[in-house]
Symmetry: C2
Subunit: 338 residues, 2 copies
């Protein structure tokens, strides 16, 4: 494939993203200084269409890129344009004001939505990859406890436990000591194994209570917390030309389904620094016209993903730069709080 043909494809992608209208041969040859005439561009366009990179909405209209065309653009043509200094400062300032981990996530998701003018999705840091920092037991009544688990990513999880027998203040302290001895500092991934043996380590008369506690702890550790996500910028879906009314509804519905969102954030290939999934690559019918740009984040290892979701016709260089920059900075913050 010719170098010039690639330039023509780039021109088509850039113009189409900017104007949202099919772009014709004349526009390409004039505005992009290729040094050839419109007729020549037309020949290249015919080739690109044969090869499946662009298509015509109808005869005698300009061309628009196909998913395959965008893919080529992202892989070989788009030069990521870094954030401006002002934008970087804004990101730093806004995120550094976060008061706790939840606030970091909330702020991140808003920031992404605002920077990219798209829908942003941020996964809460996954419990599984973090470890236990502290467990606290609070007795509410003699037979009712509250368990609070604090992880080294700063997450706090709470559960109520009904005890099979009344517990004295000392009993609670004993249990508290026991669970902390066993679990403190341990990765959550190892926790289920440890918890299984927990009841056996308690004083014999506490066995029933310890098992009840263990059941709830287990639940806390493996619970659906990994699936929690924050969403922002849904209003951006209504930007003119982004999605027509018919396709809006399934997307709005999907945004409230954690399962779908997790699938989009794609924990499978979580090792890639940054992933761009265009159209069909999402393997979801409702997202055939949608591109998802995701990045992993975390202190050292990846503890969660964040991403941005928009029409395939999106500003790839800008979006990719924004997601990458924000993911990096959030990782730094988590690193500091380690």
């Amino acid at each position: 494939m010719d170098d010039r043909k690639l330039e023509v494809l780039r021109a088509i992608v850039e113009d189409y993203v900017a104007t949202q209208e099919p772009v014709g041969s004349k526009a390409v040859s004039q505005r992009h200084a290729l040094g050839v005439s419109a007729a020549t561009v037309r020949n290249d366009m015919a080739y690109l269409e044969d090869a499946g990179y662009i298509q015509q909405p109808h005869t005698s209209a300009g061309r628009i890129p196909t998913a395959k065309g965008y893919r080529l653009f992202v892989d070989r043509l788009g030069k990521i344009k870094p954030l401006s200094a002002a934008e970087r400062r804004a990101v730093h300032r806004f995120l550094s004001e976060a008061i706790d981990l939840d606030d970091v996530v909330t702020r991140t998701v808003r920031l992404l939505a605002q920077l990219t003018h798209q829908v942003a999705v941020v996964q809460y840091p996954s419990l599984n990859r973090s470890s236990v920092r502290h467990l606290e037991l609070v007795s509410l009544t003699p037979t009712r406890l509250m368990v609070v688990m604090i992880t080294d990513t700063g997450r706090v999880e709470q559960r109520y436990v009904e005890m099979p027998a009344e517990l004295s203040e000392d009993d609670v302290l004993d249990l508290r000591r026991l669970v902390n001895e066993q679990l403190q500092g341990k990765p959550l991934a190892d926790a289920p194994r440890i918890i299984a043996d927990l009841a056996g380590l308690a004083r014999p008369e506490l066995h029933p209570s310890a098992s009840a506690l263990a059941r709830v702890l287990l639940d806390t550790v493996i619970a659906r917390t990994e699936e929690r996500v924050a969403v922002a910028g849904a209003a951006n879906l209504t930007r003119p030309g982004n999605f027509f009314a018919g396709s809006l509804r399934p997307i709005l519905e999907a945004l409230e389904e954690e399962v779908v969102l997790m699938q989009l954030l794609g924990r499978a290939d979580s090792n890639a620094l940054l992933t761009v999934r265009i159209g069909d690559e999402n393997n979801l019918d409702d997202f055939r016209e949608t591109t998802v740009v995701t990045a992993g984040y975390g202190p050292g290892s990846v503890v969660g993903h964040m991403g941005v979701l928009g029409p395939t016709r999106m500003d790839y260089p800008g979006t990719i730069a924004a997601v990458r920059a924000v993911a990096r900075y959030v990782s730094e913050i988590l690193e500091q709080n380690r």
Copy 2:
């Protein structure tokens, strides 16, 4: 105002809500067994229009209710239709599976959205009206603490504190004892006063640390936590005829603005059991075509509001019944966990 005229208004509201199309005199006289001819209905309609209860989109079209018309309907005509037994069972089952307070809120908001086919909004239980059950201090490093506050509504709040000096294990225990002695059982409304005197009660060498802690506690108590809300069912905005594309965007934007949502939930007249705000009554330009149905909930006293938001052309009896039923049941649950 005639009894029959009221019946005509009811017919118009009900038909319009059902069909989303202006309703004509013929339809009213035929489908609603008023025992009078279309011509008579026309006369009544002319009266209702003069009085401002209905309007014509254009000459020679049927009539649609005005905000004033809906208001009259809600105040005098709509008979709330209770949930079916099956629906009630579903509500009970779904809510009773909640594992903690956050989960109650999450489930409630989904349930409301599903029952009413509208957008649901639920305020997290306000801290200010609850009281402190327990405070926990966890030392992360010698100069860094994590404060966890647990309230009697089951809410957990966490903050980091940087200490001006290194603290020993005993120092932390001292501070922990102190703050719990002072604050346990106290309503959050009283907390700021108590916290102000806190530092003075610590051992002299702990004064600086105690002040640092007090500052953060104060922040925790009065922080924006009161403004947190959960939203669900945004996809319902796209139901055919609910909102046209132009008016969708400002609403989606508002749904991400806590401030606006709080205003809609309206803490002002928080004493009413159930509030219906129709169109202009919301005092927000973007919500001129929107009705908000809200109810307070809480164990005994009101600790938060929940509501549903939809086009003024909504099924009032059904929506009101759903909001009322859910609010009641959530209140019961909170009562049990008290």
